[in-house]
Amino acid sequence: MAFRAFWNSPVGPKTTHFWGPVANWGFVTAGLADTQKPPQMISGNMTAAMCICSGLLMRFAWMVQPRNYLLLACHASNEIVQLYQLSRLAKSQGYLDQKKEEVER
């Protein structure tokens, strides 16, 4: 019963409202896979762009007709993953070394 409801839903797998967000989960998966790679491979450009975009797309998912919770969940997750990658990159380039700076003074 529940599966039928899902299958025939106006935002279900027969519609692009489902597959759009599914495609965007690719960013989350890619981001997670890339957390295992050395931070030098992280693209600052791309990661920063994604942090901004996922924030905006979370709002978009809430406001679009029909409201898209799958998309919202996807971009909330991506926001977290991309922020994490950004912090890894920043750390590897020495931007987050606050204690070190104090010691040098």
């Binding site: 519609t15 692009t16 409202h17 597959w19 759009g20 599914v22 495609a23 965007n24 690719g26 960013f27 998966t29 890619a30 981001g31 896979a33 890339d34 790679k37 030098q40 491979m41 693209s43 450009n45 791309m46 920063a48 762009a49 994604m50 901004i52 975009c53 905006l56 797309l57 709002r59 978009f60 406001m63 679009v64 007709q65 029909p66």
Partner: protein
């Protein structure tokens, strides 16, 4: 004339007073970031990330014509994502699989 067109844009359901405008506008950042990364050496590109960008671009180009309101800004930005993603993938694949012969030939000569 121009004023009324500007007003039409300003008040559009997918116009600059709404998230339907700003989300796609900032999504251009992803394509711009990708174009900036055209100059990065292919070893530093990420297959998972570029595949995600490309697939998203294709699927969302379709998605943006089916939602309410229809969003051509979103459509064009996703077309751009698909194109830049494909180009980056081509660069990386060419580097990983098609320049090996050149490298092998060079090492054989030595």
């Amino acid at each position: 004339m121009a004023a009324s067109k500007l007003q039409a844009f300003w008040n559009h359901p997918a116009g600059p007073k709404t998230i339907h405008f700003w989300a796609p506008t900032f999504k251009w950042g992803i394509s711009i970031a990708n174009v900036a990364d055209f100059s990065k050496p292919p070893e530093k590109l990420s297959y998972p990330q570029q595949i995600a960008v490309t697939c998203t671009g294709f699927v969302w180009s379709r998605y943006s014509t089916v939602i309410t309101p229809k969003n051509w800004n979103l459509f064009s930005v996703n077309v751009a994502m698909a194109v830049t993603g494909l180009y980056q993938l081509a660069r990386k694949i060419r580097h990983d699989y098609f320049s090996e012969t050149e490298v092998m030939a060079a090492s054989k000569e030595h």
